[in-house]
């Protein structure tokens, strides 16, 4: 599947396109098929996202998993600071990145 990601303009936070809006959670990402470029152009023009791009991902039993490790780090947070990730009370969540 193809999903869209970027950073929030105001906060810089990593965000994912959920079909209508931008979410902090990769599991909310939606498959944009071949419409990615069109959505990105529109959303960037609306200043709702910063430096957006299309990535490959996989829908798994555990949720949506970006294909590249860099985007998995972006999706969850730094592996060396579990307390600063989106799942601070679940350090084992970091296994998902690797």
């Amino acid at each position: 599947m193809k999903i869209l990601t970027g950073n929030d303009l105001r906060t810089g936070a990593v965000i994912w396109w959920d079909g209508e809006n931008w979410s902090l959670y990769v599991d909310n990402a939606t498959d944009v098929g071949e419409n990615g470029e069109e959505i990105l152009a529109r959303e960037e023009a609306l200043r709702r996202v910063n430096v957006p791009y299309i990535i490959e991902a996989e829908a798994t039993e555990d949720g949506i998993r970006p294909a590249h490790i860099k985007d998995r780090v972006r999706a969850l947070g730094p592996t060396v600071r579990p307390d600063l990730t989106l799942q601070p009370k679940n350090p084992e969540a970091l296994d998902w990145i690797i």
């Binding site: 950073n7 303009l9 105001r10 906060t11 810089g12 936070a13 990593v14 960037e44 200043r47 910063n50 430096v51 294909a67 590249h68 490790i69 860099k70 780090v73 972006r74 947070g77 730094p78 592996t79 060396v80 600071r81 600063l84």
Partner: protein, 542 residues
């Protein structure tokens, strides 16, 4: 240390106001990211993996307790409670919001700090010896000259859009503690026939094409320092490869022209410039010098009670000989076992500031090895300092050991990285600490980069590790034999790369081989240079 005059403060305040307006326009949608990006980068604001990152300049690594306190406060107020000290003697915040950035710059300006020219293709923060003005082995304090260069290079209209970024280091000792020859320009203050002058090395650097800077002039009179620097820059600005980002650094120009031809062109330019009034008035240097005058050192005890073995170990590793025999420079390690190299919490930053105020003439230095120095500490105060550092988890006795590694932020934070650096650093420090081998290994400089840009200085590590992306999986190349000191050399790759577990095993193997083969007081690097790469390769791959 240097204090802003009205011009410095006006420049910085004006830049804050200008950036505030630029950020506002970006947030209101009046500027596109393409328009805004070069403006934010001019103010040290990057967009990294998780958020905006702000890089704050610490000129030649020197700051006072008020400034350090402000850095800690900003970490707590605007970031997530910590900052990261870098290999350029700067500080980075990893979790900055664009809507806060102008306020942070304003807070910095209140304590005579900024983030100007910490990014972009301009002359970056001038770096220097972290023991400058304190070390017994230096000729003079190099920082007045670094400050003069800072003033010359700040907003220099001719050098704001260079072919690529440009880094200058200034030292004044034979011992190189600033990786001087791995800079675009390395300046060593030297004495010749009773006169003080500058020796110029040009065209060094790390990155994807590491090079050691050749010496192009063994002596430039100090009243021509800026003119000669400008001649070096001008030739580069004219002929540097703007067509290819990867060949745009001055090292490529010097290499392609040859040092001799580059030097000829610089000398020609220099001769042309000498009567053009480029050099700042001598009075400006004389105005700067008193800011770096020695504090009033007091005689005191010159020896220590070392009956506490932990204290004795810290003193042995983390203090450096001072020019006054009642003082030392004390190194605060930001490398606790299993910690993140260079990270310090807001509270730790304020504690270091307080210790500087109480015990070190209100001064601190940032080391390019991502530690902090209290430069002027009375020997009599060392035990109290060590006790306070220990209570703040800042007392690791590991300077220049394998646990004192440099590691770039890597794939945990950096948008350019291909692999994580920090977890390797953590695991290696834990492993060597647990096995007790760290002390046996002695001086061993391990440097880890998460990509070819080499912010972790892996080319210059006695042991270097480079993280690469191998079909979407982290892989690590091991290299041996580098040095960024006065015995500068570039490390050589051992062979095929390793997994994360594999490279840690590999570090264990090469250090075991060293312990088996070393003679006398040889460091790892000395043994490597004596026996060569072959035995290490055999230990790793056979």
């Amino acid at each position: 240390m240097y204090a802003y005059d009205q011009y410095d403060q006006q420049m910085v305040d004006a830049r804050v106001a200008e950036f505030r307006d630029q950020a506002r326009r970006r947030l209101e949608g009046k500027l596109t990211e393409d328009q805004f990006k070069p403006l934010r980068l001019m103010n040290g604001l990057y967009l990294q993996l998780h958020a905006y990152m702000l890089r704050v300049a610490i000129p030649y690594g020197t700051l006072n307790s008020r400034q350090m306190t402000a850095l800690g406060d900003i970490a707590d107020k605007y970031d997530r409670g910590y900052g990261h000290f870098t290999t350029r003697q700067n500080l980075q915040y990893n979790w900055i919001k664009l809507e806060d950035a102008a306020d942070i710059l304003a807070d910095l300006a209140k304590v005579e700090m900024h983030a100007i020219q910490t990014s972009g293709n301009c002359i970056r923060n001038i770096s220097s010896d972290h023991f400058a003005g304190a070390a017994k082995d230096e000729l003079i304090d190099p920082r007045p000259y670094a400050e003069l260069l800072r003033q010359w290079s700040s907003f220099h209209p001719e050098f704001t859009y260079l072919p690529r970024k440009f880094k200058i280091a200034v030292i004044a000792a034979e011992k190189d503690r600033a990786a001087m020859r791995l800079h675009d320009i390395g300046i060593q203050i030297v004495e010749k026939d009773g006169e003080i002058g500058a020796r110029f090395y040009v065209g060094g650097g790390m990155g994807r094409t590491p090079m050691i800077a050749p010496m192009i002039r063994d002596f430039v009179p100090l009243d021509q320092l800026i003119t000669y620097s400008e001649a070096c820059l001008r030739v580069y600005n004219r002929y540097g490869r703007r067509d290819n980002k990867y060949k745009a650094r001055i090292k490529i120009l010097v290499h392609e022209l040859g040092a001799e031809e580059y030097t000829r062109q610089v000398e020609e330019e220099f001769a042309h410039m000498l009567d053009q009034g480029v050099e700042p008035p001598r009075e400006e240097l004389e105005r700067i010098k008193p800011f770096f005058a020695d504090p009033a050192f007091e005689d005191g005890p010159k020896t220590l009670d070392r009956t506490d073995p932990d204290f004795a170990l810290w003193v042995k590793h983390n203090t450096h000989q001072h020019k006054h025999d009642s003082y030392v420079s004390a190194v605060i390690s930001l490398k606790p076992v299993g910690g993140i190299p260079g990270d310090a919490t807001g509270e730790q930053i304020r504690i270091m500031a307080q210790l500087a105020k109480q015990y070190s003439v209100d001064e601190l230095r940032i080391m390019h090895t991502q530690n902090v120095v209290l430069p002027h500490v009375k020997i009599a105060d060392l035990y109290a300092i060590w006790t306070a550092l220990g209570a703040a988890d800042l007392g690791a006795p590991n300077m220049d050991s394998i646990e004192d590694m440099i590691a770039c932020p890597g794939l945990d934070y950096c948008a350019l990285a291909n692999a994580r650096s920090i977890p390797l650093a953590q695991r290696i420090s834990e492993r060597f600490d647990a096995s007790g081998k760290t002390e046996k290994l002695g001086e061993l400089k391990l440097k880890i980069s998460g990509c070819i840009n080499a912010c972790g200085h892996h080319h210059a590590g006695h042991i270097g590790i480079l993280g690469v992306d191998r079909k979407g999986v982290e892989n690590y190349q091991l290299s041996l034999g580098g040095s960024e000191a006065e015995d500068v050399s570039l490390a050589k790759i051992t062979g095929p790369g390793f997994t994360e577990d594999g490279v840690i095993e590999a570090v264990e193997k090469v250090t075991d081989l060293y312990l088996n083969r070393r003679e006398g007081e040889e460091r790892f690097l000395d043994t490597y240079r004596r026996i060569g790469m072959t035995p290490f390769k055999e230990a790793l791959y056979d």
